[in-house]
Point group: C2
Chain length 391, copies 2
């Protein structure tokens, strides 16, 4: 066990798709040339294909949080009343951004590990007819919970408010019918299911959202969605684009298109299902039993064991980086990621390692139990289940 | 299971060490410059450190077979009598090369899966006092067998013959005391335990072997060991060196030095031990039960199952490339590699996948059985074995 490969297994940055990484080596080009313009336009066109929308998709050189900021500063006006659905650290970020720009925020919260119920949003919309926007996470990656954006989107659509969905870890891990479900703004980031390093974010913007942009009075300069959308249509960018990441994105999108967005989602969902089965088989408790998403599975550390020990065990014993809990969840949970470039061989390795780490830290495990649970889920999905497995 | 990562898990080319791959991006340098000379000299110096010898180490731009060819054409003369120890496809290659250059070959063979016994070599040396060289594989990677080069080397040393060891998969998987055991020529290749792509081979040459070089009369031009050794000492190369691979080698050698050659060997041996335990736990038969090496473990396919089905299962179901048998062993065995950049997370994944492939092809497996055997070997070696595992 002297060799411990560096394995990035977090819910973002996620494991890199090697051909995308290699494509970055062609960065010795200039962004104001026809050569780059072609790549840029093709990447943006592919992005619309995999997001499944004909709406404008606006790219930004920023992390996902930059796109969240831009969706507030470009679409709202000072004092606007908005609803924030908050079920974790990223819900709290929506509130922070909205308040920073002087919006009036009604927070609908759910405890960490749960999701905000559509009924609560519907009731709040009915009680507050002045609401201009509803903010949510499709996937709250701090807890692993998924929100029912379909039901909420269909409710928001009937009002004059727009629905802004942080889908940074939602895209590629759950179906998102942007136009069918009334998702006015859908935000994604490069370092998630798109399998490339951080540095690019993007948002789809509906005609209803563009309408709000016309009257928005909040200050912004770098994040100018209208200007960026207009430039993008011509293969240009308002400011210097992150050329290396665009090259990587173009390559990764070719791959995502080749397997299909539905299959990428199915892949994450199957890995998530197998991870939940493994956790249960190992006597562990899921942190998000009622609304589990497929981006990441949060699992409680055994009673009396700090989850940091598990994270440390992965790093020191096996060289792998997995995620601890964030904020007050730190030490209580650990998170196994599934979004993007993850496969079953990854999960076999993660669960076998987890078994050994748990065992070494006082949570006895019959070796192979969790792996077998993963194998059962795979076998069932692949149609290769043999009666011999049923004991 | 829609994502299947490309995983190169063969006994050569072996998995690449990513920083070595990245180092190749600095290839925009010229080989007749002080900048490159420094890198070349430092890589060759490190190579001697990890090989543990003060003998000349001669680098060649070739595959390992080129270095095998060079060791014959540079050190022997037409009609020389040599002994070839042959226990697999690579032993047969020694005979082929020796015969191509007009040497008189006495073959000492062992059946595939076995090793040539030192006693046979000692007897042949006693019976043939005109023998000028003894050729062997330290590790015969077509079968996974290891030869006792220590005992044989100590016997050859007492004669006027030189001992030429193909250690292409032996280096980094077994101890090789070059000077202590009388190993006159030890051959290595870049794409094995050195974790970089194919294209560079190297040989250590003892003073006794250099002495033979002085009288050698076999034709050669490109492979000129004396000239290459002289140039290497000055940081030069006789012909254009493979600069990208030298950059990669320099980086990989830094890593091997950082963990230590003894630990790299221990790593391979532990993975091999765990693989053998998994095979037995899964009811499979080892192809090389008596002389197993640590470069690769050859396992027989279950009765009635072509091993190609297992290889195909890895590729089609999981995207991983493992090795089939070679020549007449094709279809009968499959080979799990351990040499170089392999770790336990790799092995957990390989064994869990193997379980599913066997099961899907009519060899019923209780899922997790093989993985548990691997975990037990790890736990014992790491001192984290808990009494609960003993049933």
């Amino acid at each position: 066990m002297h060799i411990k490969k560096q394995r990035l297994l977090t819910p973002g940055p996620t494991p890199l798709y090697p051909p995308a990484l290699h494509a970055m080596m062609a960065s010795d080009l200039h962004h104001r040339t026809e050569d780059f313009r072609k790549i840029y336009q093709s990447a943006l066109a592919d992005l619309k294909v995999v997001m499944g929308t004909s709406y404008d998709v606006v790219p930004l050189v920023s992390s996902g949080s930059g796109a969240m900021d831009a969706s507030v500063s470009n679409l709202f006006s000072k004092g606007d009343h908005v609803i924030v659905c908050s079920a974790g650290k990223f819900g709290e970020r929506w509130s922070g951004i909205a308040k920073a720009y002087g919006l009036r925020v009604t927070e609908l919260t759910a405890p960490y590990g749960d999701a905000v119920k559509p009924a609560a949003v519907i009731a709040a919309l009915a009680a507050n007819t002045d609401v201009k926007g509803v903010f949510i996470q499709a996937s709250e990656s701090s807890t692993g919970a998924a929100h029912d954006v379909k039901t909420i989107g269909e409710a928001v659509r009937k009002t004059s408010a727009i629905f802004i969905v942080d889908a940074i870890t939602g895209l590629g891990t759950m179906p998102l019918d942007i136009e069918g479900w009334g998702l006015d703004v859908v935000i994604g980031g490069s370092q998630k299911a798109f399998m490339i390093p951080p540095g690019i974010a993007f948002l789809s913007v509906s005609p209803k959202a563009w309408k709000m942009e016309e009257t928005s009075d909040l200050p912004h300069f770098y994040f100018n969605l209208k200007k960026e959308a207009k430039n993008a249509a011509a293969g240009e960018s308002s400011w210097t684009p992150a050329t290396s990441l665009i090259l990587a994105l173009a390559e990764a999108l070719k791959y995502v298109k080749s397997i299909g967005m539905a299959q990428l989602i199915d892949n994450a969902q199957l890995l998530a299902k197998a991870t939940r089965a493994a956790a249960v088989a190992l006597g562990l408790e899921l942190f998000t039993p009622h609304s589990p998403g497929a981006a990441v599975t949060a699992i409680k550390a055994p009673a009396g064991m700090d989850s940091g020990k598990i994270v440390k065990g992965f790093r020191e014993r096996f060289g792998a980086i997995i995620a601890n809990g964030q904020g007050e969840m730190k030490g209580r949970i650990f998170r196994v990621a599934h979004l993007g470039y993850f496969d079953f061989m990854d999960l076999f390795a993660v669960v076998a390692s987890l078994e050994m780490i748990l065992d070494a830290n006082g949570h006895p495990v019959k070796f192979g139990t969790g792996v077998a649970a993963v194998q059962e889920v795979y076998a069932e999905a692949a149609g290769i289940r043999q009666p011999v497995h049923v004991e």
